[in-house]
Every structure is written in C-alpha cells, then in structure tokens.
Amino acid sequence: MRIRQLLIIASAVLLLSLMIWAQAAAKPVAGQSLSVVALSASADNLLNRGPSAWNQIAAKRVALNRTPPLYDTDEPATLEIQSLDVRIARAGGKLLVQLSWRDPTHDAVTLAEIPNTPPETRFRKVQTEADDRFFDAAAVMFPAKPGSDAIAPSLQMGDAEHPVEIYYWNATRGAMLMQAQGRGTTRRTGQSFPVNSTYQNGQWNVTFELPDLPSGTTVAFAVWNGSQKDRDGRKYFSVWQVLE
C-alpha cells in the first residue's frame, strides 16, 4: 500500500518536473523550421546576386505579428504587413538570410553626406531635412551563444542569462550590429555587417550576411514600417524559428 502511494507520488513529481522542463526548454514546434541550402558560391557573390539566383531557393513564409501598443500616447497600428518570405543559404562559411516582404510605401531617403571637415570650420552645415519621418528597417535576432542545445531566449531581446545578437538594417542608416539582454537593453556595438537591399514593385528584398550558425539555432525576424511610424518596439515580429 505504502509502496503504491510512493510510486504515485514519485510519478506525479516526475511528470511535473518533465512538464516544467518541457516548458523551460520550449522549442519552436514543427512548422517553425527553416531549411538551409548549402551553396558553393562565395558569400560575397551570393550577397550581391540578383533575385533570379535567390528565387531558386525555396522560400518559407513566416507570419508577422504586431507588438501590442507600448505607450498610451501612441496611435494604434494595424497589421499592414502580414508575413515575410525567408530564404537561407550557407556559402563561403557564412549564413545568408534573405528577407522579402511587400510594403507599398518606400520609406527611405539618402541623407546628405557630411563633409570630412569639422562643422565649425564650415560656413554651410548639413541641415535636418525633416524631423518627423521614420524609415523601413528589418532585423534578424539569434542567441549570442547559438546551438541546438540552447534554450530559446526571451523573444523580447533575450534575457540576462540568454543574451542575443541583433543584425539590424535600416533603409536609410544602413546595417548595424546590436546586442541585448532583455527589453530596453539593446545597444549598438558600433560594428556593421555586409547587407544588400533592393526595393522593387512594392517589395523589399534584404539580404543579411550573418556568421555561420549551427543547425538547430533559433532565429527571429522583425520588420519596421516607416510609414506606420515604426521604431523601437513598435514593429512587426516573428516567433522563434529553427535552422534545419
């Protein structure tokens, strides 16, 4: 009798710990995996190749979500961009990720170049053309310590135990590498990375050159729509996906 009771308690404890473990090690489920195509071309070559080269790689359509309103003072935003297409190739020791999404508004400008001479030595300064415009942007986020064993970090820019790397591209300001350990901790590292972007017929195609990430790494994507005044956490995001 006592042994049966002990067995029941033991199995209940086991079941409970299994559930907790499963919860903690929550992994994206089937349907959230991304296939990676290995190519012999160099990363440089692939980065700058036109859409025809990329079209040969099957795209995975990833659903986008809007972040909930973050501030009472912000106008609500609608889901104008519902998904993005992801193509991934491994080439020349790099991982190339192409994100394509439809966006009827091309929110990007070419800012005036700042002369090399210090402003105090120049009569004419570069002017602020507009103070109220925001630009299209996209980002790929993955754990700073990638690998299949790693637990997926918090989707909100990672967490203290699971820092993330964010490869951020802005249609006006270019590519910048960021790091974060939770919401509000994102910082620019001052480093950049190779990126190639085109906007044609209402569609962005942006190719990121990332370090080669091992199979099983979780990656997430974000898109900012300038015309919707997107910046900061006001954006579109995907849930974690797994590299095959």
Partner: protein, 333 residues
C-alpha cells in the same frame, strides 16, 4: 527629486526681443550639422504662433498622472531653411531682385510684433523660452531607452547622446516642444542649461549675454539666490502652463504694463494693457495675485519706500542676478 535645482527667472517687462540670447546659445551649442533649425533658446512674440508654431496647443505633458498624446511638429511648423540667390543677381546679370528660396513660410519668431488686439489697441510682449528642466519631466518618462536623466546634483535635465536612438517619444511628450531631432546624427537634442559653464562658475550663455538683464539664475533651494527670492519669497514669478503638470523650473515675472489710459492712481486690473485672460492662459489664475503683489510693491516705492522685490528685479549687476554655486552642488566622489 534631485538634491538641488537650478532655476531661471525671466522678467518679461524687460525683454526687448533682441534675440541676443538666441544667438549666444546658437553660437555656443547649435552651430553643428543638423542643428540649423534648433533654437534651444528662442524668443517669441505673444500672443503669437510660437516656435514651433502652435506648440502651446499641440499636446503632451501630464494629466491625472498619465502622459498626454501629441503629434510630432513637422518642418512646416518650424519653417524650412532658405537661401538667397545672390549668384544670379550679382554674377549672372539677372534683373530679378535677390529672393529667398524656398519661399519662407514660417520660422523662429515669424510673427514678430504682430501680437493681438485689446479692444482698439494693439499689444504684445516677448517670451524667451529654454527647456524648463522640469521637476517632473514628461520627456524623461516617455523615453524607453532611459536616455534622458535629471542630474542628481543640480536638477538639470539632459539627453545622453550615447543612449538616445532618436525615437522622438520625448518630443511628443514635452508640452513645451523644447526637444529637437537632429536627423544628421539620428538623435534628439535640447538645452543643457549650460551645465559645463555652471560647473566652472559661469552663468548660462543666454543669461550672460542678455542686454536687458532680465534673467536671474541660481539654485531654487538656496535662500541667497535671486530665483529663490523671486519665486518663493516675493512670489512674483510663475511658470508657463503649469497645468501641463511637469513642474517647470523656469519662471516668468508677468508683463506689468501700466493701465492703458489715465494711469495715475489706477490699478492695472481696472484697465489692463495686456488682457488678463491672456496672462491667465499663459501663467494660470495665480497671475492675478502676482499682479496685485507687484502693484503693492510699486505703490510702496511711489510713496517713498523701498521695495526689495523691485530692487532685485532691476538687477543692477551680475552678482545680484546670478548665484552660480558649483561648490554647493558638487557631488563628492
């Protein structure tokens, strides 16, 4: 709460709208790329549009403990920078007069001296504006990057240019629209109350250069400082739009013009040159009490007495007007 609070009092009766403060500030702080339209200090004619235009009606600030919404002012509200076609006139022999381009449609103090009408008479006065270095800053609350902070030692509100990402929530939140976005650097900027000068015992550039001697600077909590005396002892200076809830630390002595007609022995309130409603709009209902106090001080001197408040407002020398005390606010590390 910061341990000390630098504050400024501006006596609007003495402002002549010369913009020397504006230029002093511009030459010192905003003569860089992307800062052309920035006036950390500006002087605007009241009643009037202000800079950016209609900033006082656009929104922001606090209500019932919550930040209030506001759109971002646009470049149309600030006015686009223009250039003159001198080359065409001087070197290319074109007969047209020198013209600005693009056509100027707005700018800093665009409606200079237009003012308003009080029955059949025109009236106006100038309001110099800097960041109010509020005790309860809406900009600080709005910044998700925590790039804005209020200095513990002296209450000056500054934007950390390393942390700022140019999201512009602060510009929306500021009810005084005293933060400007620099598109060249991609970051927002504002008046820094000349803290590098204060730290060396020098008063703010705008105050130092003011030919009207209308600015008073010191610690609000220093009983010796002129701002403490004007705001807390004599109670003759008020902040702009206190109902916005940010508790500004820039205060104004309201315009105290004599009555319009037959002013001898009459009260300003009987026949005001500047309509009281407009002063109440800017400074709240308390402005009436301030005018009563100022009138009483004036009466005292007219009867041969001495008014400490009015003597202070004359502000004969820098020592009277400025009490910059870096040693008082220094944090021992």
């Amino acid at each position: 709460m910061s341990r000390h609070q630098y504050a400024m009092v501006m006596d609007l009766n003495k402002c002549l709208g010369c913009q020397t403060c504006t230029i002093a500030c511009k030459k010192l702080w905003t003569d860089r790329d992307g800062t052309g339209y920035m006036y950390w200090n500006n002087v605007e004619t009241r009643p009037g549009l202000g800079y950016p235009r209609q900033w006082d009606r656009i929104g922001g600030g606090w209500k019932d403990g919550s930040l209030q919404p506001s759109p971002l002012p646009t470049m149309d509200d600030y006015g686009h920078a223009w250039e003159y076609n001198y080359e065409q006139r001087l070197y290319e022999g074109k007969k047209q007069p020198v013209m600005p381009s693009p056509e100027p449609k707005s700018g800093c103090n665009w409606d200079e001296d237009v003012g308003g009408m009080n029955e059949d008479e025109n009236y106006f006065f100038y309001v110099p504006r800097i960041c109010n270095h509020c005790t309860h800053p809406a900009c600080l609350e709005a910044c998700p990057r925590k790039a804005i902070y209020k200095r513990e030692e002296d209450g000056i509100v500054v934007i950390d240019q390393d942390r700022c990402q140019g999201y512009r929530y602060c510009i929306k939140a500021c009810p005084y629209k005293k933060i400007y976005f620099n598109e060249v650097t991609g970051k927002s900027e504002k008046c820094i109350f000349c803290y590098p000068r204060l730290e060396k015992g020098q008063v703010n550039a705008c105050a130092a250069q003011c030919p009207g001697r209308l600015r008073f600077v010191g610690l609000l909590d220093d009983p010796e400082s002129p701002v403490h005396k004007l705001v807390l002892v004599h109670k003759i200076a008020l902040p702009l739009f206190s109902e916005k809830g940010t508790q500004p630390n820039v205060f104004y002595v309201p315009p105290f013009n004599p009555p319009k007609r037959e002013n001898y022995g009459k009260s300003i309130q009987e026949d005001p040159r500047v309509p009281l409603d407009y002063l109440i709009y800017l400074f709240g209902p308390e402005v009436k009490d301030v005018i009563v106090r100022l009138e009483a001080e004036l009466k005292k001197t007219q009867e041969g007495g001495r008014s400490e408040a009015l003597q202070l407002l004359i502000g004969r020398d820098a020592e009277t007007r400025f009490h910059v005390r870096p040693q008082l606010v220094q944090i021992q590390l």
